[in-house]
Subunit: 204 residues, 2 copies
DNA sequence: ATTATCTATAGATCTATAGATAATGC
DNA sequence: ATTATCTATAGATCTATAGATAATGC
């Protein structure tokens, strides 16, 4: 039986190095983009040579996939709090999601940069983002439907449109928050949006 | 007196070539990003060599600035229709802005890509986007204030938050529209948002 | 005469590989 | 013994410049 554990994870030293490379890569991909951050710069930031880095991640694309997988794992922890709820409570929990994102500017900028850099169909990264948005909208649409069914919200709401719009506010606020250096508040905007939407969609 | 007209604009042949370079650059920057699109690729697309291209635009950054200026000019034409109105009518006109953007996918993708690629403070491009968002929000905030003053909307609305959120929905829908290959409709989402917001903010 | 474009190339990256060496675990 | 990292370098770009040539306007 061959050893399937990836290179750089079999010894404590390797695991630590790998983690620091991932962290440096996240920071640089986040601020410079995938194309803008070179392996040399990332390696330097992590304190090893580019060749040393490539022992841990055979190609730059592998590194990017690992950075994304890692970010995904962390975001899933935040999302788990949301998914614990259903219907109206889930939507109310979404009001705090802007504040959640403000807690991790690097991960948030990474997301904005990478999604915009991979709009074109065809790459593994693009497929990842398409899937992630589909899942996110589906989660919200389901909560909206549940809330309508429970009589908390009006029965004739359009779950797909409302889900896309709630996702859109969060994304758009992210961009403005980053561009304005925090001048536009994601937390405040998202709270206002969600509570406004619930008020507007309340059962008559 | 020295001639201040830029190179490539003094003869019809030059002007035509310059225009075709700008168009090719817009397409490639839009689909590959600034870093992703090489001068060689853009020149090839425009039917000349990279050295020929650099006669018209001395550096790649100059080319990007020209592409942005050109896009700005076109978007200003669309925006002019909005700015013609004030107060509630301006907001109602915004409901159609999603449909407007759907009419030019290349320019829309260019905007998404470039803004995400220049989140970092310091570059000329970043300053351009910061300014543009400030202006856009200010325009909406003013319209909201006017509508409140006219008694069309409730007096206690928060113009800054509402302006940022309306901008955010448009931006967020752009991204989902591009990522979903048109599956999420900007036009429909924006109409729903604006009419919903007006309903929610109506004077009691 | 001037404007527009080309050929050729310099110089700076960048990703990735090969092969050697240092550090660690058993 | 195995794992992790380094030095050195190949090969592919990429932006930009210098200098020559072709096309246009007067």
């Amino acid at each position: 039986m061959t050893d399937v554990s990836p290179p750089g994870t079999r010894q404590p030293r390797g695991r630590a190095r790998r983690a620091s490379v991932l962290e440096a890569a996240r920071r640089l991909f986040s601020s410079q983009g995938f194309k803008g951050a070179s392996l040399v710069a990332i390696a330097q930031e992590a304190g090893l040579t580019d060749a040393g880095l490539l022992y841990h991640f055979p190609t730059k694309n592998d590194l990017l996939l690992a950075v994304i997988a890692e970010g995904d794992r962390e975001q899933d922890e935040t999302l788990a709090q949301v998914r614990d709820a259903r219907g109206l409570p889930l939507l109310l929990r979404m009001a705090e999601f802007g504040a959640d994102l403000e807690a991790d500017p690097v991960l948030t900028a990474l997301d904005v940069t990478l999604s915009a850099e991979h709009l074109q169909t065809g790459s593994e990264i693009n497929a990842y983002f398409v899937r992630r948005y589909d899942n996110f909208r589906a989660m919200l649409a389901e909560a909206l439907r549940e809330a309508a069914q429970a009589g908390d919200l009006r029965a004739d709401l359009d779950p797909e449109v409302e889900a896309a719009n709630m996702t859109a506010v969060l994304d758009g606020l992210r961009l403005q928050w980053l561009l304005s250096g925090g001048g536009v508040s994601m937390a405040q905007g998202m709270r206002a949006y969600v509570h406004g939407a619930i008020e507007r969609l309340s059962a008559p």
